[in-house]
């Protein structure tokens, strides 16, 4: 059995919040309102965008292309970034190098904040 890092619900929520912040930054950099983005991505209710940006839920995979296009991000980069937040275990397996870098960064962040 591989020793994959366990993600607690707190970890998951924190990652979703990061995803939300990332999405919000992209949207705002494009000068889009939440309603604009919802329309461009075919989202039926625009409060879903607000919900995502708060860190709740995730973009349906079938809509990745529309979201990437609306936010002006190359689709592969968009999906890869989302995977980091939505499915970190898979991400770490597929991209071990980035995972190692991230772990290192997390370690140093932890040290800086006085965490174990």
């Amino acid at each position: 059995m591989s020793m994959l890092p366990h993600k607690s619900i707190e970890d998951i929520h924190e990652l979703r919040k990061e995803a939300g912040r990332w999405l919000r930054g992209l949207r705002e950099s494009k000068g889009l309102s939440q309603r604009d983005l919802a329309q461009m991505t075919g989202t039926e209710y625009y409060t879903f965008v607000s919900q995502l940006e708060t860190g709740r839920g995730r973009i349906p995979p079938e809509n990745y292309p529309e979201w990437a296009a609306a936010l002006g991000v190359e689709p592969k980069v968009f999906v890869k970034t989302l995977m980091k937040y939505y499915d970190p275990i898979t991400y770490d397996i597929l991209f071990p190098k980035q995972a190692a870098l991230r772990s290192k960064a997390d370690y140093h962040t932890g040290l800086a904040s006085g965490r174990d």
Partner: protein, 539 residues
Amino acid sequence: MAAELLSFFRPAKSVSGDWSTQEIAEFYRVEAALVQAGASVCVDRGVSDEGDPWFVFCRAVDGEVIVHFARIAGKYLIVSESVGLPLRGSDFRRLLADFVELNPSLIPLPSTRGSKLMLHPASLLAAVVATALYHMSGTEAVASAIDSTAINGSQIKSHHAEHAGVLGDGSHDSDRQWTDRQVAVVVAAMVALAAMEFSPPAKEMVTDLASAILELANDQLVLPHQDVAQVLSLPGLNEQSLLGNQIDTHGIHTWLDALYDYGAGQALLQQFEANANDNGLPKWPTPTTEAVPQQSASSHWWESLSPDADIAPKYFAWTDPSTGLSGGGAYGVPSTSSTSIAPVVALQLQNQPASPGTGSSSPDQPMPQAFQAASLANSELSAADHAVPQYIISGNVSLQDAITFGALDVFGPTLPSTVQALIQHDPTTLDAGASPLQSAQTLTTASSIQAQPSALFLTSAFATTYQTFDAAAGAILGAFVQENKSNIDEVVSNNHILLFDTNPSDFGSPDFVIKTWSMTDGSTISIIGLLPHNLALQA
């Protein structure tokens, strides 16, 4: 508290901005009820960049959103990706009802006799969330959504692994049991929510019941009879109704329905159905030592059951068309009850000719005119393929009592406050000896007088005046039937007849009316329910 609750569920009045305190409280109450019932959920909320509020219920185990509520430009929205398309509308309660109707898998369906589980509006909200949770989770994944720590470190920690093994065996029955258990949890959540409206003992009782449900050995929906009996003590629910030493999903519904409604009418009818033979015909109960015999279910006796106006006694009555056997009974909380709910059920069986409404009246007696009018309504409903459940009030129970207690029984706390004011027993406003309904009908009649001052009034046997049933009344009756076609039940008492709307989503409508007309032979016909707006204004 009920009035506050209603305000949330009434149609939005161009509301904007964040959720009101009342709305947020309601959402959190639902979360608490779901958690209490063992469903592990969490909530979150926010406001869009345009100021429209949203609220989500999430699966606590992984944070996945179960259902998204929002209010956009004054219109409510319910979205559960796992269930279907978004539902939108200005009437939140109607949306909830629509959702439940579209997803009936976890809500007890109307029985073959047409009786319905009356859902408290807030319970509808819990039902929506729990239904979405169930749909989203699927048979296996949902196991992880049941928080094993929710109920006192219960014995279901290993459920996931055990259940996976069961699925591996391809056991359909086990699948079914798991589904049943989910149903039980959902219903328990709804009941828990409703119980919060009531007294601390009721809360305790619901907690016990939820615990019992979730602590089932071997993950089976099998409740030892004695455990159930300990939780609830309805005398009429005995070993027979519990199918030996087990209780099935229907039994759970029956129990919880009793708890929920605080009235035995609906629950007992369902209990009788639980005893049904394979041919689907209800097996009617016979008087047993468990029943509390009463010479007559007089209004005096009803009132003696519960001096506390907040805990109104209930009545029920039924008839078996195949035998002509009729029965009536009472349900209430004895005045001696201080620490626990101890419902009392009184059964009284007697042979009574079926009402003319059933088409089997005695040829020696002319059909009261009220029944002729009702027959027209019944035939219209029959044409619409709706069998009207009929409750016969026997003995000395007057139609006034029927309306008073029946309306409270059926509508419970969801009854609009204006209607409650009409029918609620308020000793401070009654003359000694007057029945609650006498004042109620006086009030009702008073409003009728104001509406149509030129109408002719008759004096009924109860010294109460009603508007004469005429062509205009016939038109209103017809419109009432059309408006509520699939949601009409009927109460018959002597030569008086009452048709009432059973759709909970109608109760908060401003077009919800009570109306009684007199016939020239002294019979009366009454309607309680939704009317088309233009007619409601007239009525």
